[in-house]
Amino acid sequence: MPHADYAIAVVLLLLGLHGVLASASLVRKLMALGVVQVAVIVLFVSLSAKSGAQPPIVAPGAEAPLARAHVNPLPHALMLTAIVVGVSTTGVALALLVRIQRRYGTLDEAELLRRLRE
């Protein structure tokens, strides 16, 4: 199947979205959000995959390197940044959850909405 990686990214994305929408607990929503982000990371990393290629490291004094003999390093570099962005987002979200838990004593969405209405 050509471009199975594209399809896998979309399936992961949809699973994550379903989790964000359908989970009752805010923590599970946050974990599902992680799946959404991973879907994108999987796509980018799969773009640079090449069978039989080497890591993009060229020894000093080597002959002019062939692009097709090396893995494309750019998507990996991009995704390192995207992972950092994801970690920061998770950090902020967890800080918010701690505050919600301390104030309302629950992280269950329905229960939280009920207590907010009181």
Partner: protein
């Protein structure tokens, strides 16, 4: 020094954001000075850069001297320059106002300043980024800073902001997935490079999917109806100084990215035509629905937040018209709405701090106690409704001209209907403030504490008045602004 202007616009607030929390431990006043200094310098750099760009054409700044496609570039064209000036100005005015708020613990004020600076750096970064990935990173920097700022409004704010965070992150993932598909077909991330390579593959399905993902992601970020659900709650509990900046700048920058992708990156064609049609429909619905939501709200802050949903609709409507009048109207309305909505939020915050008024009915007789603040509120309201000579009239006028040129009567109808609804929800407030006597319990309150019912301190009043004058200035000098900065900013295909 001058050859590094583009990078200074971003790095000054970014560097200050790192320094300020440390400085704040020693002295809150010094932290405020550093923060205001960095934002003022960033604004001056943006002004100087815009002037240079208008004189000499697009300015490409390769970071570290590495040109595209190997390095990272900041690209300053007239459109980016104009947006950078607007965003850095709003950051500066909102920071002046934020600094005017009663000083709390110096550690917490340091965090507040740092988040404000980070948001400013993120937003101007989005505007200047020359490639789609750096744009994503700045989008998330600004989003994270925005979550932090909005969440400082108490426990209810934390719940609303958590929801905003879920939506915002999903939106950013959509955008990044779209960019990934574009990278897969073109092998480049540079916006200019993409524009050059996309026409060859424009009719493929993958480019259509990428376009859809980018547009839906951005529509979520700007809270375009019907994807606006997160906005009213996230804005309703936020502290006023943060709100004045977040509400006035983030949506505008999101629309800027939409404009950049639809008119500078993606080629003209069937897919982009259909997207514009859908956006036009959503924009027309947004202007009417946003105003209806605002009319239904009795809490002033929520009312203004809902009205932002409608105002974003005007901008998107202008893009969807895809002609010179429409885009000029959208850009001018971006400036107008930033200034007038910040003015309204700040004026409302001054009133509620002074009298405790939060709901429309609490505004009875307020104008007697706070004549200057309410005068600014009136100026911004008239501009929102679209009465001359205030700025809002002219941007709506250009939008109507654009719609007439397209023969889109439905859009004209939506703009007029929304203006009438805007008049309905804002006149309610003005009627209370000017023609009703204060409620008896408010008078009792005034008797108890002599400070109640007075104008705010100058640090909180002056930014409001400056913005009110800005509303008037944007109207009186709109022709100048349009000819000098907005017409050169238009994409080549509509000029």
């Amino acid at each position: 020094m001058t050859e590094h202007l583009p990078v200074l616009i971003v790095t000054l607030p970014l560097a200050a954001a790192v320094v300020v929390p440390v400085v704040a431990l020693a002295s809150g006043r010094a932290a405020r000075a550093v923060s205001l200094g960095a934002l003022a310098a960033s604004h001056l750099a943006a002004l100087a850069a815009l002037r240079a760009v208008l004189a000499d054409g697009t300015w490409r700044y390769p970071l570290g001297g590495w040109p595209e496609p190997w390095g990272i570039e900041y690209v300053l064209d007239p459109l980016a320059g104009a947006m950078a000036v607007l965003v850095s100005f709003m950051a500066l005015v909102a920071a002046c106002y934020a600094g005017g708020a009663p000083a709390g613990a110096s550690r917490s004020s340091g965090v507040e300043h740092a988040l404000h600076l980070l948001l400013a750096a993120g937003l101007v970064g989005i505007v200047l980024a020359g490639d789609a990935f750096n744009l994503f990173v700045f989008l998330e920097i600004s989003a994270l800073a925005g979550y932090g700022l909005l969440a400082r409004g108490g426990d209810r704010a934390a719940v609303a902001v958590f929801r905003y965070l879920l939506v915002g992150t999903i939106a950013a993932s959509f955008y990044l997935l779209g960019v990934g598909y574009l990278y897969a077909v073109t092998g480049t991330l540079g916006l200019a490079d993409l524009a050059a390579r996309l026409p060859a593959v424009a009719e493929t399905g993958i480019v259509g999917v990428a376009l859809a993902l980018v547009v839906v992601g951005l529509a979520l970020k700007i809270a375009l109806y019907p994807l606006h659900g997160w906005l009213p709650d996230a804005y309703a509990h936020a502290p006023a100084p943060a709100l004045a900046f977040v509400a006035s700048a983030t949506g505008k920058v999101g629309v800027y990215v939409l404009l950049r992708f639809l008119f500078f990156v993606f080629p003209e064609g069937e897919a982009s035509r259909r997207v514009l049609e859908l956006l036009g429909l959503a924009g027309a619905l947004a202007v009417v629905a946003g105003s209806l939501f605002a009319l239904a709200e009795r809490d002033l802050r929520r009312m203004l937040a809902c009205s932002s949903v409608g105002q974003i609709g005007y901008l998107v409507l202008g893009l969807a018209l895809a002609n010179a009048w429409g885009l000029v109207g959208a850009l001018l309305h971006a400036a107008n709405h930033a200034v007038m909505k910040a003015c309204l939020f700040m004026a409302a915050a001054n009133v509620s701090e002074s009298t405790g008024a939060a709901r429309v009915d609490d505004y009875a007789g307020v104008a007697r106690h706070l004549p200057l603040t309410m005068a600014a509120f009136v100026a911004a309201s008239l501009s929102m409704i679209g009465l001359p000579p205030f700025g809002g009239f002219f941007s709506k006028w250009y939008l109507v001209l654009g719609a007439l040129e397209r023969g889109a009567w439905l859009y004209v109808l939506a703009i007029v209907a929304s203006s009438l609804l805007t008049a309905a929800y804002l006149f309610r407030v003005l009627e209370q403030a000017y023609f009703r006597a204060p409620a008896p319990e408010a008078r009792e309150g005034a008797a108890l504490a002599p400070s109640i019912g007075r104008e705010a301190r100058p640090a909180q009043l002056v930014p409001v008045l400056v913005l009110a004058l800005g509303v008037l200035g944007l109207g009186l000098f709109n022709q100048l602004l349009v000819d000098a900065a907005l017409v050169p900013a238009l994409p080549a295909r509509v000029r």
